[in-house]
Structures are given as C-alpha cells and as structure tokens.
C-alpha cells in the first residue's frame, strides 16, 4: 500500500474516532439523541450479561441478559434512570416529586390494611422509610408491575445497621432488578409481562436477574431464587455468581441468535399503547343490584340492594377518544433522553417553551399564548380541534380542569368502583392470576387538586394500624400487627365472612388489637413527652383507646374504644385524565347546566362511601359501618351555598325568558319614541319649508 494511502486511512480512522467520541460526549450515549433520520434504527445487537461479558447462548450455564450492560453500550443508562419511571425511590434528592399520582398500595386482607405508599412526598402517601419498608420488601410487594431500576437497583449494604437482613442474604441470589428497557420499547408481540411464563412470574420467584431474559422471550428459566438455600451458596462472590446460574438455569432460544450471537430486537422510540397498558390499565366494576319487594300492611315497595361487584364487559366499553382517533399514549406523553415523560401539565420549567407546554389538553387544543413558537401559540397540534365551549361561562375554566367535564366515567350518584393494574395487579394470567377487589378505588370523585382546580380523581380510604404521636400518624407493617395481634384479628381462622369484600372487623376486635399493640409500644422517657397511642385508621376515622396506658396502670376493662374523625386522616386521591370521552358526552355540552348545577347532581352531591372493614354482626348478618360524604366536601366549597346556587338554576330558564321579555318591551318603547321623535323632526322640517 502506498504511504499516502496509509496516511489517508489513518486520518479517516482518527476522524471516525473523534466523531464517535463527540457523539458520546455531554452525557449522551452514541445511541442517544438523533441524527435527523426519522426511521427507526435496526437493533441487531450483541447481548451482554450482568458481569459485562458477551453473552454466548451455547454455553452450558449461560447467564441472563443484562439490559444495563446491553442497552447501556449505546445509551446513557444513568440519564435514563433519572426518568419518572425509575426515580421514585429518590436516590437523588434533587429530583422532583411531580404532581400527585397513583400510589403503590400495601394491602393485607388479614390485618385489614390498605396503605398508600410513595417516596415522592405526595400528600396522604407514606414513604417506605416511614413504615420500615425496605427496598427489598418493596420489590417483593410491587415488582410485578414494574419496569425495573429504581428500588430494584438499590444495592444492599451488608455493613449498614439499617440494612434489611433478608435483603443481605437474598439479593446476591436474586440479583438486581435492572431497568428492563424492553417493557416499553419492544414492539415484539412476544414481550411477555403477565403470563405464567413471563416477567411477572420471575418477579414472584425473586428471579430479578432473569426478568428481562424471560420477558423478551429470549429463553426459558428453570429455578426459583426464593427457594435457593442461601447456605448452599459459596461465600466467594465469584464462585457464588457461577453457582447461581447453575441453580437457576437459563436456556436460550437459539433461533433468536444469528451466527455472530447477535439478536434482533424490534425496538421503537415511541412505545405502543399496548406496552403502557400493562401498568396503566383501569377496569370498571359494575354494581350488581338486586331488587327486593317488601310488602307491609300499608304499602308495597321495592328496595334495591347491591349484591356484588363484577367487571364491566370489555367489548362494550370504549377506549379513550384520542386513541380511538389514531393517537397513541406517547403522542402526548413524550420524553427526551432523560425519560422525564410529560404528564399533561403545563411544564414551562422543562424548557423549550411551547414545544412542551402544548403537550397538555389546553396547550394542544387551545395553544399556549406564552409560548415562543407561533405554531405553539395557535395550538391544534396533531390536528387537535379548537373547542368553542358555547354557553360555558369563563369562570368554569378558572375553577375546573379540562378533565372535569371530559374525562373518566360519567359521574353517577355513587362513584364507580375501579381497579387499576398496579394496585390490583391486573394482567397476571394463568396460575398466578389473582382477583383483588380491595381497595375500593372510587372514580370519578371531583376533588379540588393541587392546582386549585376541581378535577376528577380516583380515591380510596386508607386503612391501617399505626402509632399516633400527637398529630402524627405512622402506619405499622401488616406483619408486625399480625405478630402482635394474631388472636384478636383471627388470622389463623379461615373465615369466608365478607362484608363489601372486606373481612369484617368488629369494634371489640379493634379494641383487643389496640390493647395488644399499645402494650408493646415503648414508653417515652420524661413526663413532658407524649405517650404514643396505638390507633386504627379506617373509613376516615381513628379508633383509639380512651385515656390510659395498658402497659402500666390500667386494666383492660377500664378502656373504651373511641372513634373520631381527624383532619389528618383523609382519603388518598389522585387526578385522572383518561379515558377522555367524546365531546358529545362532556358535562355541560349543549348548554346543559343541569349536568352539574342541579339539586342532586353527582358532580356536587355524589355520595362518596367512606369504605371501612368495621362492621357489627346482627341478626340479619354483618352490617358495615359505612358513612358517606357529599362530593362537594372535597371541593372547598360551602355545601349550603352550592345547594342554594344549584337550586337557583330551577328558575334560570324563567329568569332568562323574563329578562328577554323586559328587554323586548324596553326596545319597543325606545323604538316607538324614536319613531315619534323622527315624526316630530320631519314635521318641524316640513313646517319650516312651508313657511
């Protein structure tokens, strides 16, 4: 080869290296961002295991694929892991809480516990640390509907005093639950989250290291990490790493690998709605009503009794109007490399004024006047129609969110009971399918939200045993309660008694349980320190023992159970935006003020049940002690006022007609005297001319 040619080749190599290095700078992987070409890059890629080695499927004991090491070759994993889906554990305190959203719910039917959990500092939710829930326990509870990362990647520190002992032992076996990019970005119909052979089953087996491999259908996994005896594992980490893949054996589908051991992944930038649905589905529960004819001497009447909740038929329900018209979730819920997916709020602080702020209902349909770009000011992105809202006074746009009239199920006298994928673990099929009716999530409940606008919310009433320190309530983990109060809660008895899906809980049981918990509470040192009180919270009420302390002076008989409402005990609610109904099904459409402004409108006077397991057994069976609240009580509106105001709408048509009639008469008088004046003027001019 000519020396000159060698120089040219050398230069070309240098240029290429510099180019690729430039692409990878500024915190970006070479696969991040885009070069302007809108086609999807084809992903025929080499897979890497969790040790960073190239994956060879033909080995006797191959290791499972690691998304962190495989995708992380070209994409900045650290940046991605700061996105909304992966940052709730708040490893970085500077990350934002975001507006209130759906919590994780720690449920236990035996102890009658429903605790909303989130580490985002949302009002009403408890942080895992508040209830001593370790990241390991968190993963066990909620890992089935989870894209990985976050709590799954918190490496337990064996030297830490606060480390969960179980996690210290089990995490080396189960491995870390890395971000599974394919949960969202795989367009392959084989991506399996919920079947018995899918990712969720691996989570149930604590096979966190293997979740992505099985979920993507790359191979099968035999073995259960939770069943592996920790004492059978070698102490040396290297040997343990080898031993574990022998005990939990991965067999790859050789047909997926080409001759160079590369695999084609059908990856898309914009995941389809099907991918989102696994964790973000909701299901409507229908109340089955039984009509009972009651005859007495004086009258015959028919009473309606709710007998059970049953699922709404899928094929008669409609999906969100946006999806029906051809959009998909990611058309509005977009993100950059940081995976901070837009949540439908006006998010100016995110930068790029207009481009992002118009990814909201208002911005997309009406535009954002404050946006930099003219197109963003005009609105109508993706062909969004400009709503006219005829006959809707503008005060409604200050007081209500768009979703108030347009989203969720149509409001009914009693809110619909819903189940959500994450809370009720929907989407798990086959032998690990579970039917969880609790908690009773009600929707739509119209609540004044953080932005001071009334919006439809999902809502449920937390229930938990806990400790009250003056005005602060701290829930207890169900297993701690069960340990202390197995007998009063009858946890060893298999009872089929159910009252509105709950195992009924009598006030006597509450009292006995509280006594058991109270007796175990540490006594404060010093006279000025308040004595912590055992409490049970359910249905918006606190149940606690009357004055005294069973651990010291009082006898059991001296205590009484006291139930009271407390302003710190509120239902947990979060705003909903979907499904958006067609415009013709909006509230107030066609000038129908009565949709909300009537004396019995569900919007204000819907009955929100304060769901509770507390019940008493009478002659006719169990009777749940459920109270109800008017929806207006969650809207910071005076109930009496809105009653009067809505009542005035009864006379509204008459008032409009009366005023119109008056205006017509006044206009007639004006016209009459104008004509008379004109006549006088004409006469005067005429007389002048004649003279």
């Amino acid at each position: 080869m000519e020396p000159r040619a060698n120089i040219l080749i050398g230069l070309a190599v240098v240029v290429m290296l510099v180019g690729s290095a430039k692409a990878a700078t500024a915190g970006k992987g070479i696969g991040d961002g885009n070069d302007g070409n809108r086609s999807e890059p084809v992903h025929v890629i080499t897979l890497y295991d969790d040790l960073g080695n190239e994956l060879k499927p033909g080995e006797e004991f191959p290791r499972p694929v690691s998304m962190k090491n495989t995708c992380g070759k070209c994409h900045n994993y650290a940046t991605i892991s700061g996105g909304w889906h992966f940052n709730s554990c708040r490893v970085k305190p500077e990350e934002k809480d975001g507006r209130i959203g759906e919590p994780w719910v720690l449920r236990d039917s035996g102890t009658r516990t429903m605790i909303p959990i989130s580490n985002r500092g949302w009002e009403g939710a408890f942080r895992p640390s508040q209830i001593n829930l370790s990241s390991w326990q968190w993963l066990k509870l909620f890992g089935t509907h989870y894209p990985g990362g976050n709590y799954g990647e918190i490496q337990v520190d064996p030297d830490s005093e606060t480390a969960d002992p179980e996690a210290i032992i089990r995490q080396p076996i189960s491995g870390l639950y890395e971000i599974n990019c394919l949960v969202c970005h795989s367009a392959d119909g084989r991506q399996d989250q919920g079947s018995p052979d899918g990712a969720a089953m691996q989570v149930a087996r604590q096979n966190y290291r293997w979740v992505a491999t099985v979920g993507a259908g790359l191979g099968t996994v035999k073995g259960t990490a939770s069943a592996v005896d920790e004492f059978s594992m070698p102490i040396e980490p290297d040997q343990a790493a080898l031993k574990i893949v022998e005990k939990i054996k991965t067999t790859y589908d050789s047909g997926k690998f080409d001759t160079e051991n590369k695999v084609f992944f059908d990856i898309v930038r914009q995941p389809s709605a099907q991918r989102c649905y696994f964790c973000h589905s909701t299901q409507t529960q229908i109340r089955k009503i039984e009509q009972v004819q009651i005859e007495s001497e004086s009258e015959k009447k028919i009473e309606e009794h709710e007998v059970e909740l049953t699922e709404e038929l899928d094929w008669v329900s409609d999906e969100d109007v946006h999806l029906a018209s051809g959009l998909t979730c990611t058309d509005c819920h977009r993100n950059g490399d940081d995976h901070m997916i837009t949540r439908g709020d006006i998010e100016h602080e995110e930068g790029s004024m207009g481009a992002i702020s118009t990814l909201s209902c208002r911005g997309c349909h009406l535009g954002d006047e404050t946006a930099d770009a003219e197109a963003a000011q005009k609105g109508g992105r993706l062909g969004a129609p400009h709503p006219k809202h005829p006959g809707i006074p503008t005060i409604h746009f200050e007081e209500l969110s768009c979703t108030a009239c347009h989203s969720g199920p149509m409001p009914t006298k009693e809110p619909t009971i819903m189940r959500t994928a994450r809370i009720h673990k929907l989407g798990l099929h086959g032998k690990h399918a579970i039917n969880l009716p609790l908690p009773h999530v009600m929707s739509p409940v119209f609540v004044r939200g953080q932005d001071h606008k009334i919006a439809p919310h999902k809502m449920f009433w937390p229930a938990f045993w806990g400790i009250r320190n003056e005005e602060e309530f701290t829930p207890m983990l169900p297993e701690d309660v069960a340990f202390l109060a197995e007998e009063p809660l009858q946890l060893t008895i298999q009872s089929e008694d159910r009252i509105n899906d709950w195992r009924p809980l009598t006030t006597e049981q509450i009292k006995q349980t509280l006594l058991a918990i109270q007796a175990d509470l540490p006594q404060p040192e010093g006279e000025d320190v308040a004595v912590p009180l055992a409490v049970y919270v359910a249905g918006g009420k606190i149940y606690q023992l009357s004055e005294g302390n069973p651990a010291t002076e009082n006898t059991e008989a001296e205590f009484e159970l006291v139930a009271a409402e407390h302003e710190a005990i509120k239902p947990y609610s979060w705003p909903i935006a979907h499904n958006v109904r067609p415009a013709t099904q909006s509230l107030g459409v066609g000038g129908e003020c009565g949709d909300c402004h009537s004396t019995d409108s569900p919007f204000f006077f819907g009955q929100v049940a304060m769901d509770t397991p507390v019940a008493e057994q009478g002659e006719e069976g169990w009777a749940q002690q459920t109270e109800t609240r008017n929806m207006v009580s969650f809207q910071d509106i005076d109930e009496t006022y809105i009653g009067w105001f809505n009542w005035s709408f009864v006379f509204r048509p008459m008032m409009k007609e009366t005023v119109l009639l008056c205006c017509a008469v006044i206009a007639a008088v004006l016209l009459l005297y104008s004509l008379r004046a004109l006549r006088c003027l004409a006469k005067a001019v005429s007389d002048e001319c004649q003279s």
Binding site: G391, I392, C663, I666, L670
Partner: protein
C-alpha cells in the same frame, strides 16, 4: 384596569355633581347652617315617600321607580364592590344576590320606562335649550333645564339593553369562550356607564324635585 377606570370615573362624576350642585344652586340662597342641613336631609328623605297628592297609578309608578333604584343599588354594590374594594371577582353568595336582583331590576326598569317614557319625551323646551346652546346664550344654561334628567333617562333605557342582553345571551349555547369574554367585558363596561348615568339621573331628578318643592 377595569377597577381603576371604574373608581376614577365614579369619582369624577360624583365630583362633577358636587361642583354642579354648588355652582348652580336650586334656590336663591343656600342654607349651610345646622338646621338647614337637617332640613335638607329631611327633604331628601321625603322624596322617597309616596306623596298623598299622587294618583294610584302615580303612586305605583313611583313605587316601581324606587324599587328599580333599590335593585340597581344592590346590583351596583354586589357587582362592583367585590372587584373594586376586595379585588376579587363576583362569586359566592354575592353572585347569587346579584343574579337574584337582576331580573327584578329588569322587570321594574321595564315598567318604569314604560311609565315615565311619556313624561320624559323631548319637547319644545329641550329644543330651545339646544338653540340657546348653539347661539351662545349660555346664562343659566346648566341650571334650569329638564334636559339632563330626560337625557339620562333615555340613556339609561338604552344601556339596560346591552347590560342585560350581554349576560342573558351568554347563558345560551351561542357564544364560545372568546365570545363569552367579550360579553362579560361588554356587560361590566356598559354597567359602569349605566352607573354613571344613573348617578347623574338621580341627581338631576332630585334637583328638579327640589325646584318644584
């Protein structure tokens, strides 16, 4: 902006009324003693009574006129005070009171306009006043004329229409959001002008009444 315009315009009109009252006294001499002021107030008060000399129709007309003024005062207080004094939009119980008295005002205003239209029609005297104005014969021009009272009557009658119709039409599904905003602006600015006209009208009517008495 609206609040500033409202406050300034009301202050200016009230100021003009006071200036006019002192510049063009009704009687030959003004009694500013304590007794005189008491008599003045009693006189003003008696204007709101139904005179014994009035016929039944006259009594009814005056009664309706008084109710119209009362309703208008309530509408003014509920409509303007929250915005001007408290800086908050009309809402809550105030809104309910406003909406309750609005149709009553419309009905009373209609009856009053029908009842007083004939009395308030323009006559030869008003034409003479215009002639005096145009021929520079201005002595006593601003002191001795019923034109102001009549003019404000008809202006009020005209202004009631946009004030009422702007709100009523917004209750029908005709106008969109932008239209609603325009109607609302129209309502409050027309209402402001109506308030100014009403202040002048009441002053001029009372002045005329003083003159008669």
């Amino acid at each position: 902006m609206f609040a500033i315009i409202s406050i300034w315009s009301i202050v200016i009109v009230l100021g003009l009324v006071v200036v006019h009252w002192f510049a063009c006294p009704v009687g030959d001499k003004r009694d500013l003693s304590f007794g005189g002021l008491v008599r003045f107030k009693v006189h003003v008060l008696t204007m709101f009574f139904l005179g014994q000399k009035l016929s039944l129709v006259g009594k009814l007309k005056k009664l309706v006129y008084m109710v119209t003024l009362l309703c208008f005062l309530i509408l003014f207080l509920t409509g303007f005070v929250p915005r001007l004094i408290c800086g908050v939009p009309l809402s809550g119980y105030t809104l309910m009171i406003h909406a309750t008295f609005a149709p009553v005002f419309a009905v009373c205003a209609m009856i009053a306009i029908v009842g007083y239209a004939q009395q308030c029609r323009f006559t030869r005297e008003e034409l003479d006043w215009v002639v005096r104005l145009t021929t520079c014969k201005w002595k006593g021009l601003l002191c001795n004329s019923a034109l102001g009272g009549k003019l404000t009557f008809w202006l009020g009658a005209i202004l009631i229409l946009p004030v009422a119709l702007s709100m009523i039409s917004s209750m029908y599904p005709i106008f969109g959001t932008h239209g609603q905003e325009i109607l609302f602006e129209l309502h409050r600015y027309c209402a402001l002008v109506l308030v100014l006209v009403a202040i002048c009208h009441v002053y001029l009517v009372m002045r005329a009444k003083f003159k008669v008495d």
